[in-house]
């Protein structure tokens, strides 16, 4: 029982944070679609979960969680979780995957749209009962659909269903859980940044002769965000372990994590807006990227409501086992 990230896990997170600070500053969100991708690739980021025989580092989801959280904290755009996490589970033998030399778009069962599909060299499509299809980006017809997040555009994907589907329901289920957990970790990062920015603004913005952060209505709401994030994070960490161990409760644990992280991020976004007032509502302030990310990732890979329903269904089947 050592429920704390190891020094190695934290060091990986710190390295990614440093890279993103340098190469994914807020300004990059206005101009670049895949900032810091090459730098992360140099670090071996896209091979972290791949086994050594596929040029990866053979790490588990738990090991990379602090690093994934940093990608959320920095609001890093691009199909990062898709390439580094989803593809590692769904299609680990993709050439150049470990080196970051291939950019992957992923569509999981039940999902309507693929994020960042226009950037993808390869599309991996897992539809219920159809196994996994891997196709080159140019073979798909992409139709942009409106979304909430300017840095995470969505696309409808159509293609000729040729005969290349591989079976792999287990892999798909595992990938879906891993993606939910990784997205949850990003949401925790987004929520932490929203909180930090809001706290910082509440400390300097003055009304009625005092910093607004000295008013209980403002400070107690920020405290509530801190509490929500503080207690969502351990669910995410547990879910990563649960997925790594393929625990019997892994599906439910992943859902609990995604729901709690999504709700914490949505709360953080709402409170960030309320704390900032009108200025938070503007396109000029960088805050809007984190707001949009909180909303887009809350909806991505299952809404909080859908994951709550999954948890409830599992409990209703009287599976009250806990991990650990």
């Amino acid at each position: 029982m050592h429920f704390a990230f190891t020094d190695e896990q934290l060091a990986l997170g710190a390295t990614v944070r440093d890279v993103l600070r340098a190469h994914c500053p807020p300004g990059a969100l206005r101009t670049e679609r895949r900032p810091a991708w090459d730098r992360l690739a140099e670090l071996g980021f896209f091979g972290l979960l791949l086994p050594p025989e596929l040029d990866g580092l053979g790490l588990g989801l738990t090991d990379v969680l602090p690093a994934v959280e940093e990608t959320g904290r920095a609001c890093l755009p691009g199909p990062v979780v898709e390439t580094a996490v989803a593809a590692a589970f769904l299609s680990p033998r993709l050439p150049k995957l470990a080196s970051g030399g291939v950019c992957v778009g992923v569509l999981l069962p039940g999902e309507a749209y693929m994020a960042d599909a226009d950037l993808a060299d390869v599309l991996v499509v897992a539809r219920t009962g159809e196994g996994v299809r891997v196709l080159p980006g140019h073979e798909a017809r992409l139709t942009a659909v409106p979304g909430v997040d300017p840095c995470r555009p969505l696309f409808e994907v159509a293609f000729e269903a040729s005969g290349r589907a591989e079976s792999g329901a287990d892999r798909v289920a595992l990938a879906a859980r891993a993606v939910a957990v990784a997205t949850a970790a990003q949401l925790i990062g987004v929520a932490r940044e929203l909180l930090a920015v809001s706290v910082s603004y509440a400390g300097v913005r003055r009304q009625f002769g005092a910093a607004i952060g000295s008013f209980q209505a403002v400070r107690h709401r920020l405290a509530d965000v801190a509490v929500a994030v503080e207690f969502a994070a351990p669910l995410v960490h547990r879910a990563a372990l649960s997925v790594d161990r393929d625990a019997p409760t892994a599906g439910r644990d992943a859902s609990a994590a995604k729901a709690a992280a999504g709700e914490a991020a949505a709360l953080a976004a709402r409170v960030a807006l309320q704390t900032h007032g009108a200025i938070g509502y503007t396109e000029e302030l960088d805050l809007r990227f984190w707001l949009a990310r909180a909303w887009s990732l809350s909806a991505a890979h299952g809404t909080a409501a859908a994951h709550r329903e999954h948890v409830r269904a599992s409990l209703s089947a009287r599976d009250l086992r806990r991990y650990p």
């Binding site: 999902e111 979304g147 909430v148 003055r206 209505a217 009108a278 503007t282 396109e283 949009a292 299952g302």
Partner: protein
């Protein structure tokens, strides 16, 4: 006590419903684009042709002298029909009540008919960079000039100003915190307007820079120094009721049920709660309208309505986001969600409203 509509009210409802069914356009382009702004003005003009843009105004200004109850009926039908957002709303809901009450006959004749037809579109100019919730801290000022005033300073978060023709707001004419404020009307022609894009990328806000803009005495509403009282007293009469009528929340709630009733019962339950809450707001408003029609002021109780509708609107749209997930993009629900997030902020943040409730409704110490 009764809740029966009169035959005349029922006829009015039927007339409005029929007219809207025949005339409501397909979704217009967003009103904060140039094209959309014009399309929304055209729609206002069409409404005005039927005396439907400002039903509660006297006929001489373009209305029908409708009662508050009829106005509420109009609003229910308007939003149920899915009719466009009101590009004139800052003028007709924020400025017009003040003009009616504090304006000179000349001011009313000059401005109200053109507002009713959207020939003039008015932008509000309350906030300043350092004066938001603490509005009385504002520093934009007016200096006496021959036959009028010169306006100086910097307003911001001015809704609609990117395309509007006129603005209204408070300027400091002396140092007294509240009694030094004067209510001005001004054309936007000589004001430097910098549009500010909102979360949806469209310039729903603007900054206004005044560098000696001339406003003749005829553009002062009420007496110099009376601005705070005018702005606030409007708040505590009709505006508390008219800012957001129940009709729009009833319509949202009905649409939310369409989305939710066949979904997870836990979500359907949240939708049903919202639907009932929208009914509560409607009923509460009928009671308030009755009191206003009997000559009462709403006073601080308007703050309770603001808190209630803004948080209801947020709950409804948050639920819709949960129900739609990735499919929310491009829907009216997403626009509505972003707008609902602003509800607890604009027209006095909900923190300010709760302070008002605590102090002026409950009598708690400051």
């Amino acid at each position: 006590m009764d809740l029966d509509f009169s035959p005349a009210e029922l006829d009015f409802r039927a007339e409005v419903r029929d007219w809207l069914a025949a005339h409501v356009p397909e979704r217009l382009p967003p009103m904060d684009t140039g094209e959309g702004f014009q399309a929304h003005r055209d729609w206002e003009a069409l409404l005005a042709g039927e005396r439907l843009s400002v039903v509660s105004w006297p006929r001489e200004y373009g209305g029908r002298a409708a009662s508050l109850i009829e106005w509420l009926i109009f609003e229910e039908e308007y939003w149920a029909a899915g009719a466009p957002a009101r590009v004139s709303q800052n003028g007709i809901f924020l400025l017009a009540p003040s003009l009616m009450r504090f304006g000179t006959p000349e001011q009313r004749r000059r401005w109200l008919p053109r507002m009713a037809t959207a020939e003039d579109v008015w932008a509000q100019a309350w906030s300043e960079p350092e004066a938001g919730s603490d509005l009385a801290a504002l520093t934009a000022r007016a200096e006496r000039a021959d036959g009028g005033w010169l306006l100086y300073g910097h307003k911001t978060w001015s809704s609609r100003a990117a395309h509007a023709s006129h603005g209204f707001g408070l300027f400091r004419t002396s140092g007294a915190r509240h009694k030094g404020l004067t209510y001005f009307l001004f054309p936007l022609d000589d004001v430097a307007v910098r549009p500010i894009a909102q979360l949806d990328g469209l310039p729903g806000f603007a900054e206004l820079h005044f560098d000696g803009v001339f406003a003749p005495d005829s553009m002062v509403l009420g007496e110099p120094g009376d601005g705070w009282r005018i702005a606030m007293s409007t708040t505590s009469s009709e505006r508390g009721l008219t800012l957001r009528s129940p009709g729009r929340f009833l319509a949202t709630a009905d649409r939310l049920l369409d989305l939710a009733l066949d979904a997870d019962p836990a979500l359907a339950d949240r939708a049903a709660r919202c639907w009932t809450a929208a009914e509560a707001y409607r009923l509460h408003t009928f009671a308030t309208a009755r009191r206003i029609m009997a000559g009462a002021e709403i006073g601080a109780a308007a703050s309770m309505g603001k808190v209630f509708w803004s948080e209801l609107d947020l709950r409804m749209h948050e639920l819709a986001m949960e129900l739609l997930g990735d499919r929310a993009g491009g829907t009216a629900w997403l626009d509505g969600f972003l707008f609902s997030l602003a509800g607890p902020i604009y027209a006095g943040t909900n923190e300010i409203q709760r302070n008002i409730i605590a102090e002026r409704v409950l009598g708690l110490p400051r």
